[in-house]
Amino acid sequence: MLDADFFRRWITATAASVDREAQRLTALDSAIGDADHGSNLQRGFAAVLATLEKEAPQSPGAVLSLAGRQLISTVGGASGPLYGTLLRRAGKVLGDAPEVSEAQLAEALRAGVDGVMALGGAAPGDKTMLDALIPAVDALGEGFDAARRAAESGAVETTPMQARKGRASYLGERSIGHQDPGATSSSLLIAALVTAAEGGSDE
């Protein structure tokens, strides 16, 4: 079973890897966007960590809801509302249970991904974060490591796609040949599940 501590480790590990990969995310974003994906997420997750420390939420659902709300209030752009909705919606599904199973986490993330799809109006193949998240959630039943691998290959597979959503879509065919920064950061979020399960927060 996964407790509030696991979810705190997950968010902390995500923040650490966003921090480490910020330059790479920004470089990917400068090819087809406006070169701020890394610094925006870095700012958002730093604020999330500060809030988690201050408010010390006691259930998995509360950790995710708080993190989601904080991302919406600090990140801006498209990634703030989209990542915020992903975590908030998942947190809502988990409710205030003190511990949840891996299956319940998978179910909650599925609801979060549905929320992202509804909000952004994107579909698989549009070259967005969904191209990493959907395969990851599909693979969660086989464990965190399977989800990590699915998210990573999902992100890589955005390279030949033509963007149909967000700022990259304004480039038309010129968006082809570049890996999507949103799918890349999503794969970091999923990979952090493995770190959290190993007991570390990767700080």
Binding site: A35, D36, S39, I72, G76, K165, Y170
Partner: protein, 330 residues
């Protein structure tokens, strides 16, 4: 790359502090990033609220004042503001007549303003919205996020702002804003890429002998790259791209807008070419505005926006306005 800044992290806050010092008519909340006209809320008037990423100055903070915006919310550089900012701005300017959000069609701006509208409506504030999407460089289809909002934002904010100043009701101000957007088209070119403070180097690589056609205002590459053209050739390309998409049945407002690093000497010369092409195509010009209004940091280049006007829109365009960047008649 040399920039007149302290550190990238405080660029927006530093600019807001300086703006506050320069314009006592504005109430600048540096911490919460909301710029409000000092006499807001104005009884009986719809409050216009706009916002978007920083780096486009004077858009939007420079357009706050009587006859235009009631408040503006600047986000991080090229990043939309967050819903809390817009909800705060809405609360500050609502006189009971409601607020109108003016939103450029970028996924982030749309999502954050939609969330803000929910927050404001929860507080009992009536909210209207105009989505600006004037950029003809983007192919409009069911499979893309739609056209970007660029130069027409200025026309929408000025004309809807004049309608609000007259005390027209929210649904009417919103309808006028939509009419202005529907009547406007833009096209932009870049002669150099943007350098954002956070990245510190150009966001895309543009060799000296080439230009990007169909760029937006966020340092993203354009639709197409060509060898450098003359001002006259660029005017032909830009105006024809717009007129391929709209057929004005009356006079137009013309905005020849600098992207931030192109001097007025070049912009005025470019405007002469734009006016030549419009005359050749038989398009009557009602008013022309030349300058840096919807910029993209230090990008060199320009955009052209045309807005077809009827008598009422022209009257509202000519109505008095007093803001840091646009000021006439009072």
């Amino acid at each position: 790359m040399k920039m007149l800044i302290n550190v990238p992290e405080t660029v927006v806050a530093d600019a807001l502090r300086g703006m506050a010092a320069a314009y006592p008519d504005l109430n600048v909340d540096v911490e919460n990033r909301v710029i409000v006209r000092r006499d807001a809320p104005v009884a009986g008037q719809v409050g216009l609220v706009s916002g978007g990423g920083s780096g486009h100055e004077p858009l939007h903070g420079g357009f706050v004042g009587p006859g235009m915006l009631a408040a503006a919310c600047p986000g991080e550089v090229f990043t939309s503001p967050v819903p809390d900012q817009m909800a705060r701005a809405a609360a500050a300017v609502d006189s009971g007549a409601g607020v109108l959000f003016i939103v450029k069609n970028y996924t982030g701006d749309v999502l954050n303003f939609d969330m803000a509208a929910e927050l404001a409506e929860d507080e009992g504030i009536q909210v209207g919205k105009v989505l600006v999407n004037d950029d003809v460089a983007v192919t409009d289809s069911l499979f893309t996020a739609g056209r970007r909002g660029t130069g027409a934002t200025l026309f929408v904010e000025k004309i809807a702002g004049a309608a609000a100043a007259e005390g027209q009701p929210l649904e009417r101000v919103e309808a006028i804003g939509r009419q202005v957007n529907d009547s406007s088209r833009s096209f932009g070119v870049a002669l150099s890429a943007v350098t954002t403070p956070a990245k510190g180097s150009p966001t895309f690589d543009l060799p000296p002998g080439e230009l990007e056609l169909g760029i937006g205002i966020h340092g993203e590459p354009g639709r197409e790259r060509r060898p450098m053209m003359t001002s006259g050739e660029i005017a032909d390309f830009a105006v024809n791209a717009i007129l391929d998409d709209m057929t004005p049945r009356g006079p137009v407002l013309v905005l020849v807008n600098g992207m931030g690093a192109t001097p007025l000497l070049e912009l005025f010369g470019f405007n002469a070419e734009v006016q030549r092409v419009l005359a050749e195509r038989g398009v009557a010009v009602a008013r022309t505005l030349v300058g840096n209004y919807v910029t993209s940091l230090d990008m060199a280049g320009a955009s052209v926006t045309l807005c077809q006007v009827d008598e009422e829109l022209l009257r509202l365009w000519d109505a008095p306005v007093r803001t840091p960047a646009l000021r006439w008649g009072m």
